[in-house]
Symmetry: none
Subunit: 136 residues, 4 copies
């Protein structure tokens, strides 16, 4: 697993890490049951404090993305969201709204926007398929 941190983006480091784990899980690059990098080695590799990684992993566990077995390590859980449908809807709506406002500010019209969404979704599914085949 490969991480790319940007210390000047304003986004907290622990969130960048958690987001990248989530993206890897979503794209299929990380498969359910697979172990995540250990906290201490990863902290050294990213030149970040151990607690920062620990916080990222703790958040992911609180959200049901990973399972952590003390003494063993952290592992990707099967994708069952623990949240109510309404809570999921709200979270997703927020992400979508941000993209829409970005489109507005960048003066990208509705048709172009929707086309781009479809294109990215297809690309995403392609990536998942590729990962699945690579692991056969």
């Amino acid at each position: 697993m490969l991480f790319q941190l940007n210390f000047h983006s304003g986004l907290p480091v622990y969130r960048q890490i958690a987001d990248q784990v989530r993206a890897a899980a979503a794209s299929g690059a990380l498969r359910t049951g697979e172990p995540l990098p250990g906290i201490r080695p990863l902290a050294e590799q990213l030149r970040v404090n151990r607690n920062t990684i620990a916080k990222a992993y703790a958040d992911l566990e609180a959200q049901g993305v990973i399972e952590t077995l003390p003494g063993k390590g952290c592992f990707l859980k099967a994708g069952n969201s623990l949240l109510k449908k309404s809570a999921r809807h709200d979270l997703l709506t927020q992400e979508i709204d941000e993209a829409i406002v970005a489109a507005h500010h960048l003066q990208v019209g509705k048709e172009d926007f929707l086309a781009l969404v479809k294109e990215r979704f297809a690309a995403f599914q392609q990536t998942r398929k590729a990962h699945a085949e690579a692991n056969e």
Copy 2:
């Protein structure tokens, strides 16, 4: 100018505001010489402290994006390169990809996702329209 803040994104509010101004300038949605919203009304509208808006504007001025004329307001400076359509698509792609990862993580399928995107886009246009009429 329309702003969308996310208080739980981890991105500092003042950076969210500055980023959105920059995006609008990059696309030409905000033109050279045009005034930005006043600090006080904007602070009220976004339910945010005036210092926060002031900091966002101060940063933009430090970067040469806007010009502050004391007593008059803030205005977009000349020389903001308009980004090409492809560059704008790249910025948008980031936002869209985040929404797609969230959708996967929240176990929302393609059809539901696209439907939600369309619904939110329509809601957004509704808001814009109402806003525009209120300013006639």
Copy 3:
């Protein structure tokens, strides 16, 4: 709000704090919208590090129990669990099973156990009622 910590119980301090907030919220001693004690003052009062309180509050926010407005403070949210019914059922089952095993080890029979459960539930409702009346 009054806290009672036991540093030798083995239960992490941040969980003792979070549990007591949850109990206060459930019993009605803390009402929705009310502010929790500030992190720094509480840390001093309990002679505990600031980060420990912060972790307790962060967990409570992640679980949707409280809302934290940076710069303002932490406030009790209306009691809407964000979890799916199945997840709620599992969590509750675990608590109940622990009580049942305790009853078994303490050789308390089924009838006595159920009677005690009913008695405690009534006492709990009584406490809520008393708190509600005290706040009229």
Copy 4:
């Protein structure tokens, strides 16, 4: 002897085990001179490392609750005061109150809660019965 572990309670596993042995001794469920489960089989049954069980037993021996006869096993020592019914109810009350607070927090009503308690108690008795028959 039946054990129930909760790996997410924050209470160290070795303390959960020791606590349950103490509770059984306090109620007379475990009698003076009776043997405790062997370390190795118990470790397997609870899916826990042998060191963890060993630590629980070592603590109990240090407190004079049990006696370890190397090569033979661990046995309950004499002199463990049996608690009165009222004292046992107090211990149980703590566990029950925690479950009630959880129920309130998870928005489970009185009727549902009591039904779940009864259901779990029946399931527990079923497990006990199966266990007893397996040991005939």
